[in-house]
């Protein structure tokens, strides 16, 4: 069943009853834009599908497939972990950098994180990372304060 979710200026159409890849796409969009709107099954260990405001639990693929829920939760945790790693690396450096240097720094300290994922997350979390020039990223809070050159 096609449903709509509005987050900020964007409205997303989704259908949690079929096509896992679409569910995954929408869940990650919600995570990156407004994680408070994630369904309870993605945020908590214990939850009641009956309380879900996003979809009908009787048709929801996630409600029917606990493994799929675990799979999504694992990747959400992983993404948030990598996002925090990137934040830490940029904060320790103390100034915005070209994205490939950020990726190299993250990869050097945490070899399992790919450069591609770092680039994806730098542009996917506007609340955490901001672009200061073409390809140059820093922490979003630095936008509002003077930084050393």
């Amino acid at each position: 069943m096609q449903e709509k979710l509005t987050m900020g200026a964007n409205t997303y159409s989704y259908d949690f009853s079929r096509r896992p890849e679409n569910i995954e796409r929408v869940v990650f969009q919600i995570l990156r834009t407004d994680p408070a709107q994630l369904p309870a099954c993605m945020r908590r260990l214990f939850f009641r599908c009956d309380d879900c405001e996003l979809t009908d639990p009787t048709t929801c693929l996630m409600a029917r497939d606990p493994d799929f829920v675990s799979y999504l939760k694992f990747f959400i945790e992983n993404e948030l972990h990598v996002r925090n790693l990137i934040r830490r690396v940029i904060k320790e450096h103390g100034r915005p950098m070209y994205w490939d240097i950020i990726a190299a720094m993250v990869e050097h300290r945490y070899p399992r994180v790919s450069k591609r994922l770092v680039y994806l997350l730098l542009s996917a979390y506007p609340g955490d990372f901001a672009s200061f020039d073409v390809g140059v990223y820093g922490l979003a809070e630095w936008k509002d304060e003077p930084r050393p050159d």
Binding site: H93, G94, R95, P96, M97, I101, P148, D149
Partner: protein, 370 residues
Amino acid sequence: MLNTERSPEYPHLCLKSWPFTVVPRRSDTPIWAGRKHLRHQVEQLMSDLARRRPSSLHLMWADFGAGKTHTLFYASFLAERERMLPIYVEWPKKATSFVDVYRGIASNFSKVFLSKLFWASCERGSVDEVLSWASREFADFAAVLECLYRGESSPLIYEWLRAEPGLGRRELRDINVRNPIRTSDDAIRALVILVGLVARCGDYQRLVLMLDEFQRIDQLPPRIRTDVNSGIHTLINACPDALSIILSFSFGRPDNIRFLLTEEVRSRTDLEQIRLPELTETEALEFLVDLLRYYRWGTPPNAFFPFTEEACRAVLSVIGKRTPRNIMKHFDVVLRRADRDVSVGAIQEVGAQYALDILKAVPLPEDSET
């Protein structure tokens, strides 16, 4: 430069002039406060460079506001004293190739200075010898040197040397050169000649090139970073003698330098790095005493005057990151108020509570130097 003959500006504070300046001053006799180990390291380095000929590449890392530029100015002063030619260049905010670095370096050379360098290098050999060597390295540069030899004083010579854009075919013909300095290769070849002239003349031991704010390279795309790195290692390769390059970086972690330099450059750097981390409390107190001593006038009741030692410790305790700049910013705020209060006799000296009350009343950022 401070004039010791001048009457003191703040006799009530036992100071001849204001001690806290956030931006480093370039003077003939630079101040050095605190960090005795670093001072020794820099003096040792400059002394070592003056005693040998091989080229070298050095790295300097500093925390934000830790005194990197001031240290370079001090190194520059020592280099001049040791008969070396220091060139300080602040890294351009928007470099597009090694040519931009070259422009910064070349802007330090006036036409008169270059003429002197050329004639000084000719004194050791013949003019023909110098010109034929220059011609082998870079024919256009040799043509410019020939212009200097003939005593021509066209401003085009200087414009060409500074790689200024906009020189047309006709202007180039006027000074007998074929092309402007346009590519990184041209810039490197021009620098090789400059270093060569320094090496040949008897006036200088070597050219010490200080590239400040080199961390700005971290905001350039990989293609430009590679070009700049390649320029540096090609220049060092082409000048086995009489050249030292100091690259200075300012960011949170010294080990991040490795991500900004290519393997070729890293492998050529000196093993001993110059590092300026934040100061410990003891180092910060030593820094303050040295700084105040430099500006001292008369005989103060204690080394920290107009502060008490407790006041200094109290101010240091509220500073997040104890870098010289941050320390001076905080003490500057306190001293501005104390200056008025001491002059009208409201207080005799700055006590701990007085200092803390002033800092409490000022909306200071949580950590202004992180």
